[in-house]
């Protein structure tokens, strides 16, 4: 009897706050795991910020070159050709990669795959394709067909299939089943089902992924040039080996502008699509 009364008096003086929930075990385990992995990684990469202070003078020469770009390099025909080659590689690889990826996407979604065995196998194949970095494909294709634009195009096609065929099946999974039932009731073949019931629904998303991949390709082309797979990256690699930092800087700034302009253009198109 007296206990509730005592509670009531304390309640009157200071309203009871709700008790804090106890810390969750999952959260604690997560925090410990985070700390352990971070320590392991920090030791592994010998993480230190000391060079920021001590070596800034060493880096400052190079940074000075970067801040004073040698714009004349951009007028050289080799540089202009490198830029054009990057653009051509990106266009061809995006187009072929996206067309191939559309077919693979249809096989890698439960909604459109002919049976679950095909669906499972395509899923696994696509995740294997995706787990190799673009540079590995560049090196492989350079070994297969020698240096030039061709290995670059082939490497990017494979890379594009990885990206687009990851995103599109997720969109296909989310389509409205109504149109599918309708075309099935009308006796459509498997191809007609994909063409008239599924594709129109995912087309805006799919096209938007294709433009996204085009943007990625312009950047990737730079990396591929480092292994001899064509494009502006080859020019940058050559200038780097000559330690001609101010020319590298000018080319990088130009690449930056090109990527930025095409990004904006592609983003406006993508916004209109979705």
């Amino acid at each position: 009897m007296s206990a509730p009364a005592a509670q009531a008096t304390t309640g009157a003086r200071r309203p009871d706050r709700p008790r804090k929930p106890p810390p969750s075990i999952g959260g604690l385990v997560g925090l410990v795991a985070f700390a352990v992995i971070t320590a392991w990684a920090a030791i592994g990469v010998e993480f230190t910020l000391a060079p920021l202070i001590t070596n800034l003078t060493r880096g400052s020469d190079v940074i000075w070159y970067y801040l004073h770009p040698n714009w004349e390099i951009l007028t050289r025909p080799a540089v202009a050709e490198g830029f054009l080659e990057t653009l051509y590689i990106a266009i061809i690889a995006s187009l072929i990669g996206c067309i191939l990826a559309l077919g693979l996407s249809m096989l890698a979604s439960k909604v459109s795959a002919p049976n679950s065995a095909v669906y499972q196998v395509s899923k696994i194949v696509l995740s294997l394709i995706r787990s190799l970095p673009d540079i590995a494909y560049g090196l492989l294709f350079v070994a297969f067909v020698q240096t030039g634009a061709l290995p670059g195009i082939l490497a990017l096609i494979v890379f594009n299939i990885g990206v687009v065929a990851k995103l599109t099946p997720e969109s296909i999974d989310a389509v409205d089943r109504g149109p599918i039932e309708a075309v099935e009731a009308a006796g459509a073949t498997r191809f007609q089902r994909a063409r008239f019931a599924i594709f129109p629904q995912v087309a805006p998303n799919y096209l938007s992924y294709c433009f996204y991949v085009f943007e990625l390709n312009l950047r990737a082309s730079m990396v591929l040039g480092f292994v001899g797979a064509g494009g502006i990256g080859e020019v940058i690699n050559l200038l780097m080996t000559r330690l001609d930092h101010s020319s590298v800087s000018a080319v990088v700034v130009a690449l930056f502008v090109v990527v930025f302009v095409l990004d904006q253009a592609s983003r406006t198109v993508r916004r209109r699509l979705t």
Binding site: G44, E46, P51, Y88, L95, A143, F144, Q146
Partner: protein
């Protein structure tokens, strides 16, 4: 009215199909651009069939290396070395993500138009845009290697700075999409700006932002493999050497290790991400049951 209805009803005229002019134009223009690119590029297509003659031989050589007994020399050494480099890539990716997360977290609030004033939001967004337009490999060769020297630390910093761009953008969009109810509730109780952020904004967006961090970690693992090609540490540094030396058996081992580790880390990260996103619903359930108990 009734007359027109009966007329259309009785006739078997199909509805007129919508104009196909626009889609046709788009296809024609895309085809023309692609054709122009195909004609202009000097790709030496005659080499394309080499894939079918060369690749099987090389793949056989790679498989040869992979299917040797991994517990005998020199194969055991190759596997150990390769795993060592791959773990360095994972470490670079993790530290890069941690750095990116730490730096992007405050920036994402400054880039959210419902939290920061307009004159802060616009410049911060531009900074994020610039970072996103620069590939990690440029950050590595242009800034990080001169300062941090060749090695994993330079690559880590390149990944860290590169991560700020995407993380800041995605996180600030999550912050802009919050429910304004809790914010109003706190403001009504007289909370100051910092308290509103701490108790109304952060709890709402944190699960989503942590999911972005994990997503970026997966991207960074792939990116860290690339950085080795310019000497910034990780698995890429041996990849280039092996291809120059045409050591196909070891290339096979390396590719298998990259695929294996990447797939496993992706699976773990995706599982954790799913838990974080679905787990975020739990506190709100408890909160709704709270008042019922009190009443």
């Amino acid at each position: 009215m009734t007359a027109t209805q009966t007329r259309t009803g009785s006739s078997t005229v199909r509805p007129k199909p919508p104009s196909k002019l626009r889609p046709t134009l788009v296809v024609v223009i895309t085809g023309a651009i692609a054709l122009a690119a195909l004609l202009a590029v000097d790709a030496r297509w005659e080499r394309f069939p080499q894939i079918f003659t060369e690749a099987p031989a090389y793949i056989a050589l790679m498989a040869d290396g992979v299917f040797q007994n991994p517990f005998t020399m020199p194969w055991s050494e190759y596997w150990t070395k390769t795993f060592g480099y791959m773990f360095e890539s994972v470490q670079m990716a993790w530290m890069g993500t941690v750095i990116g997360a730490l730096l992007s977290f405050p920036l994402s609030f400054l880039a959210a138009s419902n939290v920061a004033p307009r004159w802060v939001v616009l410049p911060v967004r531009q900074v994020l845009n610039v970072i996103r337009a620069l590939p990690e490999i440029v950050l590595a060769i242009a800034f990080m290697i001169p300062i941090f020297g060749l090695g994993a630390l330079a690559g880590t910093m390149a990944l860290g700075i590169g991560s700020i761009g995407t993380l800041g953008k995605l996180s600030s969009e999550a912050i802009e999409g919050i429910d304004t109810g809790p914010v109003e509730a706190l403001s009504a109780t007289g909370a100051n700006k910092a308290q509103v952020l701490r108790w109304a904004v952060v709890p709402q967006v944190l699960p989503e932002i942590v999911a972005f961090w994990l997503y970026r970690f997966e991207i960074n693992i792939r990116a860290s493999a690339i950085l080795g090609i310019v000497g910034a540490g990780g698995i890429g540094s041996i990849l280039g050497q092996l291809f120059n030396g045409r050591m196909w058996d070891r290339i096979g081992i390396t590719l298998v290790v990259i695929i294996g580790v990447t797939v496993i880390v992706d699976q773990i990260s995706a599982a954790v991400r799913r838990r974080i996103i679905s787990g975020s619903a739990r506190p709100s359930v408890e909160a709704s049951s709270g008042p019922v108990e009190a009443a």
